[in-house]
Amino acid sequence: MFRQLAVRFGSPLAVAIVALLGLWLIVMVTLPQLQMIDYSLRPNLLPAQQGGAEDGWTLANYATLFANDIHRAIFFKTLWSSVLVTLLTLGVSYPLAWYLAKVATPRQAALCILLLIIPFWINEILRTYSWFIILAFRGPLNEVLMMLGLIDRPIRFLNGDGGVMVGMVYAYILFMVFPVYNAIESLDDNQVRAARDLGAGTLRTHRRIVIPHAKPGIATGCIMTFMLAAGSYAVPALLGSPGSRWFTQIIYNWFFEGGNWNQGAAYAFLLLVLCIGFMSLVMKVFKVGLGDIAK
């Protein structure tokens, strides 16, 4: 590999390229992950005890999750809620992606995409915070609902998983819209027209023609959204309550309140396994490869 680089760029540049790549992939990507796994397999010991008799590999930190009912429940809640967020986001994004790719005129689509990009550039914290204001007990949503006579008393929106899910759909929607839009856009209009001419209705056209074609985009959107939702700390911290904690918050507490980094590392690794598992499942179901995702 080095020779190919040296032939094209000359030795000094080839050395620089390999050095930068090595710094990144070894020092920044691989070693920290391996160190985290190693950490998760060791007991939490005082510095004096390290390297002593008790210092050895053990699965005790992983057993904690299954022994602790609350943590286990939060782990599975995070899993199901993230799946639900992903499905909701897909449901909300698909019609828009279809509109942008096939219904709108090029000018309309260009304007819409610019409008979509603007909130995408705005901080996740700020986007979440705006929902914090809207959903507040004495906030505008409750005021509007009361004015319309739909409710007599303000509702505590920020008291369960509902607020967290609304905030997540809002925060991650664009990670779904863009890949799905890109995938639908490459579909030949004639295929849609042919399906219609042959008598297929709207639903059937989508089910048999558009969705199969958009699979790589849908898969990419789902993988990104799930990863962001399961790994989110900001949204549950801002829009959730003590009763609706997210798995990332448990991990954070092991590090900065519990002071047990080994335990935290084990939980972090479980979160990573969860995301990799979801990704593999989606790639298998949709029959797409890693190359399709990077597009």
Binding site: Q33, P119, L126, S130, L238, F255
Partner: protein, 268 residues
């Protein structure tokens, strides 16, 4: 036919509702900045005021956090942009059986939750005696931002006409001159775009930074802690300023990008 027209109407209505959903929350947040109320809200309206901007300007913690964010973003640029360019050149040049594996490794930071990148960075450097702070924040953020830079540079590199490269070498240029005079100028627009994206990604990052900032609080971490403790509309004033700066940058970036696309299409 009429059912299809009806569907089109429903779709149009949906698009309008969607954009309202996208922008209303931001407008509510912006409006709350000007409400004369101790708690950030728009209901009830206690009168219009600009005092929260003054309050914000007097907040020394905010200025410190802003300085930290700028330092981190500068560090990320210095680290992630060269790594991203090098990786793009590597992928564009090398063919080997190990490439699919390397490619998966290169993309992995994009598919790893940000909190985990922060945690692994924190643990790894603790072994070497380095604690959380600006240095680790730069390393943690650059880990995944380098992958974004790589994707953007690769996209342009794939369209590079390698006969230009060969022509330069045939005319007696050294490999370094070819890189400096031909390849780098060709990649410049992609590198500049990648630098803008890298800067913003760094400035807005929360999940990774949360674990590695130590006491060097960055602006996003500062905002989040303000929302949870000691919330006043000064947070909205800060949010509004950030939104305006972001929108301005986004529009400039988009306009430039479109002009460039138009030029390159004409060029072909």
């Amino acid at each position: 036919m009429s059912s299809q027209r009806w569907m089109a109407l429903v779709l149009r209505f949906y698009v309008v509702v969607f954009f309202a959903y996208l922008f209303l929350p931001l407008l509510v947040m912006a409006a709350a900045t000007f409400n004369d109320s101790r708690f950030p809200t728009v209901t009830p309206w206690g009168g219009t005021t600009l005092k929260w901007f003054g309050e914000l300007a007097a907040d020394s913690g905010m200025w410190q956090a802003l300085t930290n964010s700028a330092l981190v973003a500068a560090g990320v640029l210095l680290l992630a942009v060269p790594i991203g360019i090098a990786t793009a050149l590597f992928l564009n040049t090398v063919s080997s059986r190990a490439k699919p594996f390397l490619y998966a490794l290169i993309l992995s930071p994009l598919l790893t939750p940000g909190v985990i990148i922060g945690i692994s960075t924190l643990i790894f450097w603790r072994q070497l005696g380095v604690g959380g702070g600006i240095f680790l924040t730069v390393l943690g953020q650059a880990t995944f931002i380098a992958a974004y830079v790589m994707l953007m540079v690769t996209a342009r590199l794939q369209r590079f006409d390698r006969t230009m490269e060969r022509a330069a070498l045939d005319l007696g240029a050294t490999q370094w001159q070819m890189f400096r005079r031909i390849l780098l100028p060709y990649l410049k627009p992609a590198i500049l775009s990648a630098a803008v994206i890298a800067f913003l990604q760094s400035f807005e990052n929360y999940n990774t930074s949360l674990f590695v900032v130590g006491y060097d609080t960055t602006l996003t971490v500062y905002i989040a802690s303000k929302v949870r403790t000691g919330l006043t509309p000064a947070v909205n004033a800060l949010g509004l300023i950030l939104i305006l700066v972001t929108v301005l940058l986004a529009v400039i970036y988009e306009v430039k990008r479109r002009r460039e696309t138009a030029r390159s299409v004409k060029g072909v």
